[in-house]
């Protein structure tokens, strides 16, 4: 597990994003045990304080939970996983729509291009 971090977004935000992507793509499953704060810091080559911050936010968002002294786990709530997936899709579409709108392209011109590109990318 290695993330290429950008320098301008908070690292903890990028770590959470990484987890969300893994949730959306099924790499991580509901109820799965996650690395300890220290292990995560080591795996991602980040400051342990940053790992701590990411987990704290994720806990508040209900993505992960900790029971007593046991290792933290992903939430078992499938709905949360679906919500994360929807969130990521919407985010990507928003970004796309914004980019396309600035160059004034009508929807019916864009749609076939998307379809074509998408098929091509998926075949490669």
């Amino acid at each position: 597990m290695k993330i290429k971090f950008n320098n301008r977004d908070p690292v903890y935000v990028q770590v959470i994003r990484h987890f969300k992507e893994q949730m959306a793509t099924g790499v991580i499953e509901p109820g799965q045990e996650i690395p300890s704060r220290r292990e995560l810091a080591n795996q991602l080559k980040i400051n342990p304080n940053t790992a701590q911050r990411a987990y704290k936010e994720m806990e508040e968002e209900g993505l992960i939970f900790t029971e007593g002294n046991l290792p933290s786990r992903m939430t078992t709530d499938e709905k949360v996983f679906q919500a994360v997936r929807s969130e990521l899709i919407l985010e990507a579409v928003d970004a796309f729509v914004n980019a396309v709108r600035t160059i004034n392209v009508p929807l019916d011109e864009v749609l076939p291009i998307i379809e074509q590109k998408y098929k091509k990318e998926c075949n490669e």
Partner: protein, 229 residues
């Protein structure tokens, strides 16, 4: 916490530190950034009382530096201070003789981590490996604070990565670290706090995650503003 309050220092006529104040907390990595000759090393030596300051105050956990402080703070200079003819194991014994806080188990663990051999002579090590041994001599002390002077300079990329790995491990965890560097790129993601220094004054002191969060700026962006703006 290490606190510097309005520290000044002159070498002859040259005013090297012109009222430097900043803090470095335990459990955080604080990075002193500045080009060569702005006073980074002088600040570290001042904290360790290796060079007397002209005015101002330096506190470690609220106390001024005393004999006992050397069991709480350690300084890793940019070049190794052991005799070149020593074997690594002999350098370890030397440290054990001098410091109560020397942790031989940790030293061995670090030796393993860096793939070094304790029967090797310091004079026969490559530059990168010498730097790693130098680092071990500081990291294997059970102290609250570690000051590192340019741990990455003149070292190959893989050794740099290995050294950076130390910062994400339990070897550093919960301790306070002050590190100086003029090349921030390798460690931008690792540091908690940056202190920008120029000409003996602190230009800016900031929390790196906070500046990304509130202003969307990288450490290098802030440096560009501060030094060029």
């Amino acid at each position: 916490m290490i606190e510097l309050k309005n520290v000044t220092k002159k070498f002859g006529k040259k005013q090297v530190l012109k009222g430097v104040s900043f803090t470095a907390e335990k459990g955080k990595i604080t990075c002193l950034i500045g080009i060569n000759g702005v006073g980074k090393t002088t600040i570290m030596k001042a904290i360790m009382a290796l060079t007397p300051i002209d005015s101002g105050e330096i506190l470690i956990n609220g106390e001024t530096l005393n004999k006992g402080s050397y069991e709480k703070v350690t300084f890793i200079p940019d070049a190794i201070t052991m005799l070149p003819s020593m074997k690594i194991s002999e350098a370890f014994t030397f440290m054990a003789d001098f410091y109560n806080s020397w942790n031989m188990e940790r030293a061995k663990e670090l030796l393993n981590f860096f793939n070094l051999n304790e029967t090797d002579r310091i004079s026969e090590l490559s530059k990168g490996n010498t730097a790693k041994v130098n680092l071990i001599l500081g990291l294997a002390l059970d102290v609250d604070y570690i000051l590192m002077d340019e741990p990455f300079s003149g070292i190959d990329i893989f050794s740099r990565e290995q050294i950076a790995d130390v910062f994400t491990s339990h070897l550093i965890e919960d301790r306070g670290v002050i590190i100086t560097t003029h090349e921030i790129n390798d460690i931008e993601h690792l540091i908690d706090k940056a202190v920008l220094l120029d000409n003996g004054v602190i230009l800016k002191e900031f929390d790196t995650e906070e500046i990304r969060e509130t202003e969307g700026k990288s450490v290098v962006d802030v440096m560009r503003e501060v030094y060029r703006g």
